[in-house]
Symmetry: C3
Subunit: 257 residues, 3 copies
C-alpha cells in the first residue's frame, strides 16, 4: 500500500499525466495515485511549491509527493528525493519541493544518481515518466531511501515567506489565490495570538474594511479567516475577494491592533 | 473494498480535491475514489443535484457519494448522511443530495453530529476534507450508519422536476445541458408511453421541428431521444442542440401527438 | 490486477467519465482506472488516435485501452476489441484505435457481438458505459478474448503517417501539438540515422533556423529533438514553438543535410 500524490504543469489535455502513471504502475502496480493538480502554469515553480505547501499535510504518513514543474529538464539541474517528517518528496532541484520539506521537518536530501531506478531509455524531455515517477514507484515498494543516491547538503530552496512584526503590526503578503477568490497569505494562526480582535489593512482600501472576525459575517462581507491550511485568508462570504478587493499575488496585508 | 464517488465545485486547479482524497485515504487507505465532476459552478447547488441524479445509478451497489457544493460552510446548515436504495449519500443539508436520494428510494436521513468521525481540528471553510470525506471513509470501512448521528425527518430538498399532462400533451423543461449540447429534460421514458411517434415542440421553433424519432436521423438533424440516464434529450445528430436551437436551462419542452 | 486506461471526448465537466468508471467497477471492482485524456475535441477521431499512439507503450503489459470518440454511436458502425503486442484496445470501429494497434504489432481484431458482456439496457447514446467499459472490465477479469465476438479482417484504419525520403531529405508533418507548444512530427528517430547533424526546414522560415541539435540550446532557441514518444519534435527551449513558429497540425517539416 503506497500513496503517490502528483503536482505537475502537464495539464490534463495531453497524455503526459497518463504516461507518467503508466510508468509508475509498471513498477508498482498497487500504488494509489492521487492528483493534487496538473494545472500549474507551465514552468511556474513558485506556484507549485505553494500548492504542495498547502496540501501535503492532509495526506497519510508515508505519502510520496512527486512534483514535476521542471523547466530545466534535460539540462544541468539535479534530481532529488527528500525525506522530511513522515513524508517523501521527489522532483527536480529547483526549489519546487523546498517550502514543503522545510515545514515537514528535518529534511534529508538525496541526489537521484542511481540510474538503476530510472526507466530506460531516459528521454531528455520527460523526467516525470523516466526518473521522478519510477523513483516514487520504487520508494513506494519499500526500496531503502539510501539506495537512490548520495546525501546532499546544498540544494535550491525558496525562502520561507516572511512575516514581519513592526510597531505592533503584523505584515505579510498574498501567496496564493484559489478558485473561489480567497487570498491566502503568509500569515499563520500563531502570528495572530495578540491580534485576534484586530483589523486587516489592505493597500488602497479603507483601514479596517476587513475584520479578523471569526463569527458569522453577512453575505458579501469581507473577512480575514484562518483557512484550512492554517494560513490567514482574505475572503468574502459567498463572494470573490480577489476580484472584489482587487488583490493579486504579492499584495501586502497588515494586521493591526 | 469501498467506492467513494465525488461531486464538488472545487475545480481541479487548486489542491482541494487532492486534500479531500488525502483525508479519506488517511482513514480508509483501500477506498477506490472516483471523480464524477469537480466543475460545478461555485455554489451551484442545483447543478450538482442534477449531476448526481443523472449518474448515481451507474455505480455499483454500496457506492458512497460525497457531494460538496456548500456555500453555507461554517454557518448553521446541517451535515447529512443518507441511506437510500443500495447507496449512501454524504453532504451538506442544502438540497444537493435530495433529487438522487428520493429517486434511489426510501431515504433514511441522519444528521452528522458524532464528531468522533471528523478530522480534527475542524476548519470552518473545508468540510469536504474535515467532515464529509472522513464520514464517507468510515462508512466505507463498515462503521454502522447509525453511529454518525440521529435520524432526521426534516431536511432541505428540491422538488423533483414536474412533468405536466394537459390536453394530450406532456410538458417538461430542460434541466441540464452537456458538453455536446444535448439538452436533458424532466421528461422520462415512462411519460412517453402514449407519445412514441410524437413531436417535440419548442418555444420559438416551428412546431414539430424536432421528432421523437428513434431511428436514424441524418447528420445535422434534431431529434428527441431517451438519453443514457432515462430522460428525454433534445439532440442534434453530430451537432450541438443547445447552440443551434438556442435552448437554455429551464426552456420549456412540450410533446404532442 | 488489471489496468484500464481511458481516452474520450467526454470532457470532465459532465458525469460521463464517472458513469463509465462506475459501470466498469460494477463488473470489476479491482480494476485500476487511469485517465489518459478526456479533452479530445468532440468527435475528433484523429486526435484521439494520435493521443493513444503517443502514450500506449508507456503502460504495463496487459493494459486495456478504452477509447471512446464515437460520433457514429447508435448507428451502423461496429465495435471492436483488439489484441496487439502485449496490449488490448477497445473502442468503435472508426480508426481511433488503429494507429496504436498497428504499431503495437500483429493485431487480432474482434467484433464486439456477444451482448452477454454488455450493460443492459444498452442505450443508443452512451456505449462507453454500456459496451466499451463493460467489455474492458470483463477482459480485465480474465474472460478469454475469443468470447467477445468473431474475428474480423476488415476494419477502418488510418494510414500510418508517411515519411518520404527524396533528394537526400526527409519529409514529414506535424501530427500533434502539446500544451507546451511542442510540435510532434511523423518523423521518428530511425529515419534520422543519416541526418544527426542536419537542419530542420520549415515553410515560411529561414532554412536551417531550427537545428537537429542534441546538446543544450540557449533559452528561447528552437530545436528539433527526439521527444519522449520517439518522434521528432520542434520545440523552443522554455518557449512555445507552435505559437512562435506559427506551426499547425499538418505543417510540413523537412530535414536536410
Amino acid at each position: 500500500m503506497s500513496i503517490i500524490a502528483l503536482i505537475t504543469d502537464f495539464g490534463t489535455a495531453d497524455h503526459f499525466v497518463g504516461s507518467m502513471k503508466g510508468a509508475v504502475l509498471n513498477i508498482n502496480p498497487r500504488a494509489t495515485l492521487v492528483d493534487i493538480t496538473h494545472a500549474i502554469d507551465p514552468g511556474d515553480i513558485r506556484s507549485a511549491a505553494f500548492s504542495l505547501l498547502l496540501s501535503y499535510s492532509d495526506f497519510p504518513r508515508g505519502t510520496i509527493f512527486v512534483v514535476v514543474v521542471d523547466p530545466g529538464v534535460g539540462g544541468e539541474r539535479n534530481a532529488l528525493a527528500v525525506k522530511a517528517g513522515p513524508y517523501y518528496f521527489v522532483g527536480p532541484d529547483n526549489g519546487v519541493l523546498s517550502l514543503a520539506f522545510k515545514k515537514a521537518g528535518k529534511p534529508i536530501v538525496r541526489s537521484l544518481e542511481n540510474v538503476y531506478y530510472f526507466r530506460k531509455p531516459i528521454s531528455s524531455t520527460f523526467h516525470g515518466r523516466d526518473i521522478f515517477g519510477p523513483v516514487a514507484a520504487y520508494l513506494g515498494k519499500g526500496i531503502a531511501f539510501e539506495k537512490f543516491g548520495p546525501e546532499k547538503t546544498s540544494f535550491v530552496h525558496f525562502k520561507t515567506p516572511q512575516v514581519i512584526f513592526k510597531n505592533n503590526r503584523v505584515h505579510g503578503e498574498v501567496i496564493y489565490i484559489d478558485r473561489f477568490g480567497n487570498c491566502i497569505t503568509t500569515i499563520e494562526a500563531k502570528h495572530l495570538v495578540d491580534f485576534s480582535s484586530g483589523q486587516v489593512n489592505l493597500k488602497n482600501h479603507r483601514p479596517g474594511s476587513v475584520c479578523l472576525s471569526y463569527g458569522n459575517v453577512p453575505k458579501g462581507k469581507a473577512l480575514g479567516i484562518i483557512g484550512s491550511a492554517g494560513f490567514l485568508e482574505i475572503s468574502i462570504n459567498q463572494g470573490n475577494a480577489a476580484k472584489d478587493l482587487k488583490l493579486k499575488i504579492g499584495a501586502s496585508v497588515e494586521i493591526s491592533g
